[in-house]
Amino acid sequence: MFLGGVILLFLIAPLVGMFISVKSPELFSTLTDNAVRSSILRTLLISALATIAASLLAIPLAYLLARRTFPLKGVVEAIIDLPIVIPHSAAGIALLGFISRDSLLGSVADSFGITLVGSPIAIGLAMAFVSVPFLITSARDGFAAVPIRLERAAETLGAGQFTVFREISLPLAKRSVISGLVLMFARGMSEFGAVVIVAYHPMTTPVLIFDRFNSFGLDYARPVAAIFIVITLLIFVILRIYQKR
């Protein structure tokens, strides 16, 4: 009990300390600061769009992993876990090489007049890269928990494979899929290491917090950090309420 209390204290004390240290006038001026507001909005929007875009590919992959055996399935699952274990700044460097003008993707984008590096697209890619494992894992576990018998029953009642997925598997795995989406969104919006490499500007809020700390010190960064933590905590609380329902 004592040891558990120590670890809980370790987690909560820095956050509580930060909220105590923030003065109301600073908080208010930060809340009304256009740079902060647009950064928060940008961060939430890009993470949301990255989550939606990635889910179109990630959810079918999760279903495949839950239902099929195929050669090198273990390798595929290991690849999915990679973004969790590799340093995120290293992931950013890898992504930078992947989207720079002299890469295949970068040169194709360039031919359409789009520069990926330093763009919201690069930010979205970095967010998706580090956070998609959470969606895939959660969705996969959700699909695996759907009794195969129900899918087979649906087939005998006239449903084709995609219809089985849409009418049976997805609705029954809904909670896990939604949890995965929210986790991916929350993780993506919190990402710093990979994002700061591929796109320092336009600044997401984690990058803004770092920039303010680096340029002006703790007191100037603290209010932004406090506001952003409140937002992430709100998302977390909503997720927990949904999971308990």
């Binding site: 009794p147 018998r149 129900l150 087979r152 029953a153 649906a154 087939e155 005998t156 009642l157 006239g158 449903a159 084709g160 219809t163 009418e167 049976i168 609705p171 029954l172």
Partner: protein
């Protein structure tokens, strides 16, 4: 109507077959045998849930051995009913109709017919989660016969029921016997099919 020739299926150390049988319209074939003899597996092969490894299945002379389950004229009543827990009773019953593009009116009409026929019309808007065993069986049966399948497969339909419900279920199955439909009923209990079957066959392990 249904013709099965030298059907073989192996899984692990177990091999089912070779099995050959024919089934005509109006026949009620009871397959009885011990647990583990492959009775449910046999039904899954006829329904198309599993793919035959050797042998053929013909329906009215047409080969359906590799036809996907959704295209076979077969419906199955599962041992545990396999009702969709996220759907209401009426949505469960009309699911096969929805798969075949029935309109809302057509679905409603057929659901009303089946509801009256099987005495479950008062349950239509309920979730399937709170239903009793007997009610679940009626709903599952209604769903299985909603599109009037030519072949109805019953996987141990009475084994999950107590004595009273079993008698009720036997009466129900007598109702669905029809001259235009063939039924295969698998069970490990020979006694329960005495009143129902027109033909019986023993399934060896």
């Amino acid at each position: 109507m249904l013709e099965i020739n030298n059907l073989i299926y192996s899984v692990g150390n177990f091999t089912l077959g070779p099995i050959s049988l024919t089934l005509e319209k109006g026949e009620y074939l009871a397959l009885f045998g011990p647990s583990g003899s492959g009775k449910s597996l046999f039904l899954e092969l006829i329904s198309g849930i599993r793919t035959v490894q050797s042998g053929t299945i013909l329906f009215d002379g047409n080969e359906i051995t590799y036809t996907p389950p959704q295209k076979r004229p077969v419906a199955m009543l599962f041992q545990d009913f396999a009702l969709f827990p996220h759907m209401s009773v009426i949505d469960n019953i009309t699911f096969p109709l929805k798969m075949r593009g029935y309109t809302a009116d057509e679905k409603r009409k057929r659901a009303d017919e089946l509801g009256g026929y099987l005495s479950i019309d008062h349950l239509m808007n309920r979730s399937v989660e709170g239903l009793s065993g007997g009610e679940k069986q009626r709903v599952a049966l209604a769903r299985a016969i909603a599109c009037d399948p030519a072949i109805l497969l019953l996987d141990e339909p009475l084994s999950a029921l107590d004595q009273e419900l079993r008698e009720e279920a036997i009466a129900l199955l007598t109702l669905v016997k029809s001259s235009s439909r063939a039924i295969i009923h698998v069970t490990h209990n020979r006694d329960e099919i005495q009143e129902l079957a027109t033909r019986t066959q023993y399934f060896k392990s």
